[in-house]
């Protein structure tokens, strides 16, 4: 079984190499990348079932070095679950982009480098999830970041270069901070292996722990877009091509959240910054969603809600009980799927209506009824209406917080509920305007205009592109993702059980001995 683990990283890298060589043959590229990601999906499913049923994490020491010294790949339930979800999401978005590329004549996507970069991004994401030591986590981050630099400036148009520069410079700073934190941790403890770190960290004085802790948290917060380090996200995501934005929104910030889950639960178990995290979570939720309300462009609205919902995951981390960690993991999974689906649906709106400004788009309900459904279901899911997974995740978080029951917890719960309602407001208002408003509606138009006039100054409020037909494969990919969001709600029971087990096992982190046992064939 352990032979499968390195394949999660090597398969996408090999696929990228083949896709790069086959740069001139588009069909070959498509076949290679779809095949690669499908294989990874299967491997991830096998690993998840194995790890969950055997209750024993799988550890692989790469190159045969003894365990605390060499590179360790480490798959526990958390890693397996996230690899599983992200591989499915990556595959769906890939199919979406294939449909887009095939129909467009590629004005926006230079195909020859898209597939290799996309597969390298996948390799980086998987590597980060299964890294057993901090430095390998750093390498995973760098792989996915460099691929994301290429993807966000795809085609090298002026607007993409402008926004890409901000994204790249911010990412560079966080990488350097992460690297320095690793150096400081190695200097203090003489190891970068996470299992060994969790044992040795307690020997340091609290003040030293705090410095190391904050360095790592700041580096990860930049990547996860936690307020006040989230300023870069809403400006840089919307200009990238729709599938790229979708996968960035779904996965890249979650890799940061994953790293924060590991630091909080495994490395810094005896160093408590939970009060600060609670306040930061509240600020992230509220500030993010207020930004969303002031936007007129769908992709920007979604980028701001993305920032705001990262706050829920930080909230769960800050509660720091097993139930809360389980709820955080469930919420992360829910958010990966739902946010990606919403961005894909908006990609379809952009094609169908030729704009994503809610001041311009109208009458889509009649013109594209299926699209209306595809947007509506994930929108109310993200807003947290029952019976969808967003409601289950938020309810689990609030439940865990209420059982701790300090006054600050109660304040954050109220903040969470307000955020959820405002998210619903922003997304349903967009739905009302873009889909529900009739194309030829004269009555009450001036009232509408007056009420919306404050949105006129928002960025990209007047942006307009060509209207185009939607290829069937793009609709199919989006429908599949919507189906997945519904499946997360229907099968919430078993999934939540897995998450609860993750929460319980993270509270009791793996020791070096267990790691060595897990490495036995």
């Amino acid at each position: 079984m352990s032979a499968l683990v390195p394949l999660l990283v090597t398969l996408p890298l090999l696929g990228a190499a083949v896709a790069l060589i086959a740069g001139r043959h588009r069909r070959t590229q498509v076949v290679v990348s779809v095949l690669t990601l499908s294989l990874v999906c299967i491997i991830a499913a096998v690993l998840l079932v194995t790890v969950d049923s055997s209750d024993l994490p799988i550890a692989v020491s790469v190159g045969g070095w003894p365990i605390p010294f060499g590179i360790v790949l480490y798959v526990d339930r958390l890693a397996a679950l996230l690899v599983m979800v992200s591989s499915v999401v990556l595959l769906a978005v890939l199919l979406f982009s294939v449909g887009q590329g095939a129909a467009d004549g590629d004005d926006d996507t230079p195909v020859s480098i898209f597939h290799p970069s996309y597969l390298i991004l996948a390799a980086g994401i998987f590597n980060a999830f299964i890294a057993g030591d901090l430095f390998n986590l750093y390498v995973g981050f760098e792989i996915l970041l460099v691929a994301s630099y290429v993807l966000i400036t795809l085609g090298g148009t002026e607007s993409r270069i402008r926004t890409g520069v901000v994204y790249i410079v911010v990412s560079l700073v966080s990488s350097i901070l992460f690297l320095s934190a690793i150096a400081a941790i190695y200097g203090a403890l003489g190891t970068v292996n996470m299992a060994q770190l969790s044992q040795r960290m307690g020997e340091l004085p609290q003040e030293t722990q705090l410095v190391l802790h904050v360095m790592l948290l700041v580096a990860f917060s930049i990547k996860a877009a936690v307020f006040p380090l989230s300023f870069w996200l809403p400006d840089s995501y919307p200009t990238a091509p729709a599938p790229v934005t979708a996968v960035f929104a779904g996965l890249l910030t979650k890799v940061g959240v994953y790293a924060m889950i590991r630091t909080e639960t495994q490395i810094f178990r005896e160093n408590d910054v939970n009060t600060v995290l609670l306040i930061v979570a509240l600020a992230t939720m509220v500030v993010g969603v207020l930004g969303a309300v002031a936007q007129a462009e769908l992709k920007r609205i979604l980028s701001f809600t993305l920032v705001s919902h990262i706050g829920y995951m930080i909230f769960g981390l800050a509660i720091a009980t097993p139930a809360a960690i389980g709820a955080t993991v469930y919420y992360t999974v829910h958010h990966i799927v739902v946010q990606t689906t919403l961005f894909l649906a908006v990609g379809l709106v952009e094609r169908r209506a030729g704009s994503t400004s809610i001041l311009k788009v109208r009458g889509l309900m009649r013109a594209a009824p299926l699209l209306a459904v595809l947007y509506f279901i994930p929108a109310i899911n993200l807003g947290g209406l029952p019976p969808f997974s967003g409601f289950i995740g938020k309810f689990a978080l609030f439940d865990a917080a209420a059982s701790v029951g300090t006054p600050l917890m109660m304040v954050v719960i109220v903040g969470g509920i307000v955020t959820s309602l405002l998210t619903l407001y922003a997304l349903v208002r967009a739905w009302n305007l873009a889909f529900w408003r009739e194309d030829d509606e004269e009555h009450g138009e001036s009232e509408n205009e007056a009420r919306l006039s404050y949105l006129g100054a928002a960025p990209a409020a007047a942006a307009q592109t060509k209207r185009r037909v939607i290829p069937r494969i793009m609709t199919a990919a989006t429908t599949g993702m919507v189906g997945l969001t519904i499946a997360l709600s229907v099968f919430a029971g078993p999934l939540y059980d897995v998450c609860a087990r993750i929460g319980a096992s993270l509270m009791d982190p793996v020791t070096l001995v267990q790691l060595e046992e897990g490495a036995q064939p």
């Binding site: 001139r24 043959h25 588009r26 069909r27 010294f69 095939a102 004549g105 590629d106 004005d107 230079p110 195909v111 020859s112 480098i113 430095f135 390498v139 760098e142 460099v146 630099y149 290429v150 400036t153 085609g155 090298g156 148009t157 002026e158 270069i161 402008r162 926004t163 890409g164 520069v165 901000v166 790249i168 410079v169 560079l172 700073v173 990488s175 350097i176 690297l179 320095s180 690793i182 150096a183 400081a184 190695y186 200097g187 970068v192 300023f231 809403p234 400006d235 930004g291 100054a457 928002a458 960025p459 990209a460």
Partner: protein, 174 residues
């Protein structure tokens, strides 16, 4: 753990200079800042190695006398990553210059919107606000003196409004 004080001082200076250069608006300076920061972090990794000893080859010396090999491996990896990212940044700077004859970091769209909106509000309130600092930016050094605009002040042959993009030939192999 005894380490060289010189190395620590150099690292601190590199960190300071790197942060300062990265705060600039010119992308070329940002690149220089990133290189300085990257080297500072690499030095940091070397410093935490502790007392330098002999080369860590198996059997060549008593293990107590050897250097710690792990930070060296980490540093090598970090150097390679820094190198790759710098190459990408250079390409980005070139492209930015090709498109706009400048290599500056532009303002956030949201910031521009907020600034315009607040400018309108100020006008309507008829405050005695002076417009002197309208053009004020966060530059430490003006755009005019940014390296690439200085080198190529006017009409450059290499500058094209319709800079080519990487598009496949239509109808080629589809």
């Amino acid at each position: 753990m005894d380490v060289s004080l010189t190395l620590i001082i150099i690292m601190a200076v590199l960190f300071a200079a790197g942060v300062y250069a990265m705060l600039e608006r010119s992308l070329t300076r940002v690149l220089i800042g990133f290189l300085l920061l990257g080297n500072a972090a690499n030095l940091f990794l070397l410093i935490v190695m502790g007392r330098p000893g002999t080369a860590p080859f198996w059997g060549s010396a008593d293990p107590e006398q050897m250097s710690d090999p792990l930070p060296q491996a980490l540093t090598l990896t970090a150097i390679v990553i820094t190198f790759a990212v710098s190459a990408f940044l250079l390409a980005l700077i070139y492209r930015s210059w090709q498109l706009g004859q400048a290599d500056t970091v532009e303002d956030d769209a949201e910031d521009v919107a907020v600034r315009e909106r607040s400018a309108v509000d100020e006008d309507s309130m008829d405050d005695e606000v002076s417009d002197d600092d309208d053009d004020a930016t966060t530059d430490f050094v003006g755009v005019e003196t940014a390296p690439i605009t200085v080198l190529h002040a006017k009409d450059v042959p290499g500058l094209r409004d319709d800079a080519p993009t990487d598009r496949p030939h239509r109808g080629g192999d589809r």
